[in-house]
């Protein structure tokens, strides 16, 4: 506790740095994984291998990945961009399968009915398939968000500031309180972002709660 009272003033900045790394990575993962998931769902032949490849990405150990990314993308090793790209690779790997499942979970009849009344293929995606995929997508985004928040800590290994600094510094100097603070704060940030995802998911799906309430007090015909 002595460590905490002496160093608490560092903490807001570390949380801020942590967020600066994980929020862009989470958003990028969603932007990349959702179209891939849709593609995999629509075209089974491409989809199977694509999902398999994505799952493999998650199996790449973090340190080699952090070394390969600067080479492939031509960016400096010790940079925010390297970290964001690495987190996005893992995020996409985690999310694509759920994204494909989310589109598969959209009721075929509803999709068909929307086409039959005259939605174009583009408008059926934006106005029907995507909104109806949100509930399953949210479940995948929650897992990916929590995973990304915890992965950000390895950024400390390439000198990226974040809550991971508390872990590496605490280990090197043998300060248990510092390590514990890092662990607890990472969990708190993960839970906070998870709550944000749940909240946004609720806002995006007003019909789900209305439907539940409606079924409870069934309307006579």
């Amino acid at each position: 506790m002595k460590w905490l009272s002496a160093n608490w003033h560092q903490i807001p900045a570390l949380i801020g740095d942590h967020m600066t790394l994980c929020v862009p990575a989470i958003l990028l993962s969603i932007l990349i994984a959702v179209p891939i998931g849709r593609l995999a769902h629509r075209h089974r032949l491409v989809g199977g291998p694509l999902l398999g490849f994505a799952a493999l990405l998650y199996a790449i150990p973090a340190l080699p990945l952090l070394i390969v990314i600067p080479v492939v993308f031509g960016i400096p090793l010790r940079s925010m961009a390297t970290m964001v790209v690495a987190l996005t690779v893992y995020g996409v790997a985690l999310l694509v399968r759920t994204a494909a499942d989310a589109f598969a979970a959209v009721d075929r009849d509803v999709h068909d009915a929307a086409l039959a009344v005259g939605h174009s293929p583009t408008s059926v995606f934006w106005r029907v398939d995507l909104p109806l995929a949100v509930p399953v997508l949210v479940s995948g985004i929650r897992v990916m968000t929590v995973s990304t928040v915890s992965l950000v800590t390895i950024g400390a290994l390439i000198g990226q500031s974040g809550l991971g600094v508390l872990l590496t510094d605490g280990f090197q100097r043998g300060i248990a309180a510092e390590v514990a603070t890092g662990v607890i704060l990472t969990v708190v940030v993960a839970l906070l972002l998870d709550a944000v995802v749940i909240g946004l998911g609720r806002i995006a799906t007003p019909w789900i709660r209305a439907g539940r309430a409606g079924r409870r007090q069934a309307v006579p015909s």
């Binding site: 086409l115 005259g118 799906t205 209305a210 309307v219 006579p220």
Partner: protein, 269 residues
Amino acid sequence: MIEFQHVSKTYHTGTVAVSDFSLVVPSHHITVLVGSSGSGKTTLLRMVNRMVEPTSGAVLIDQETVAAKNAVALRRSIGYVMQQGGLLPHRTVVDNVATVPVLNGVARRTARRDAMSLLERVGLDPSLGKRYPGELSGGQQQRVGVARALAADPNILLMDEPFGAVDPIVRRELQDELLRLQADLGKTILFVTHDIDEAFRLADEVVVLRERALVAQQGVAAEILAAPADDFVRTFVGADQAGRVLSTRMVSGRAVAVDGTGRVVGVLE
């Protein structure tokens, strides 16, 4: 007028859904395709709005082949009502009804206002407009489905077993409502059902289909009941069933109609 010219549909699995079907569906009338499952009736209906493309033959609307039309524009010009309503669960009732006008570029506010008056027209309280389809009963959802189909004021309505999933009392109400609307609107309606009683109640002309959409008999209800073309039709319409075979008996000086089981079903005037 909708015209089917020698249409066939063979799926890539080799299943023949429709084999050489021809029919003229006259304007401003209700034509009902009736058959059991596997008779290809839904496939025929979906050929009209190009949800299914025939393997051979052509479907024409007012002498123009639908294959030459843009599929999306064609579908927006045809009302389509399907089983379970086919409503979008994530849009409110009023937005569901306003779907096609909004897709056609009508201002959302105008489309919503029109949708509200359409809800009244199909016998729904406009206050239901703000709800989601999941909050409505099956019968109410079907009415919304009819309102949506009418929203862009199409000449043609395609109805695919629209009342199949509701209980018999509500189905009866919906059928009456449809006949009342049709008396006002005079749309060209192509209606698909497996329920022969529904076909007889609604149709100006009934087309009884066998498997692969072979026409077993075509005509008004009375003709089909009075003179079934063959045993298939006789069995399908239940011409020999006790409920269809009526006789009269004199009671207190009045002729009383009695069905095949001896149950009294009405009085003759």
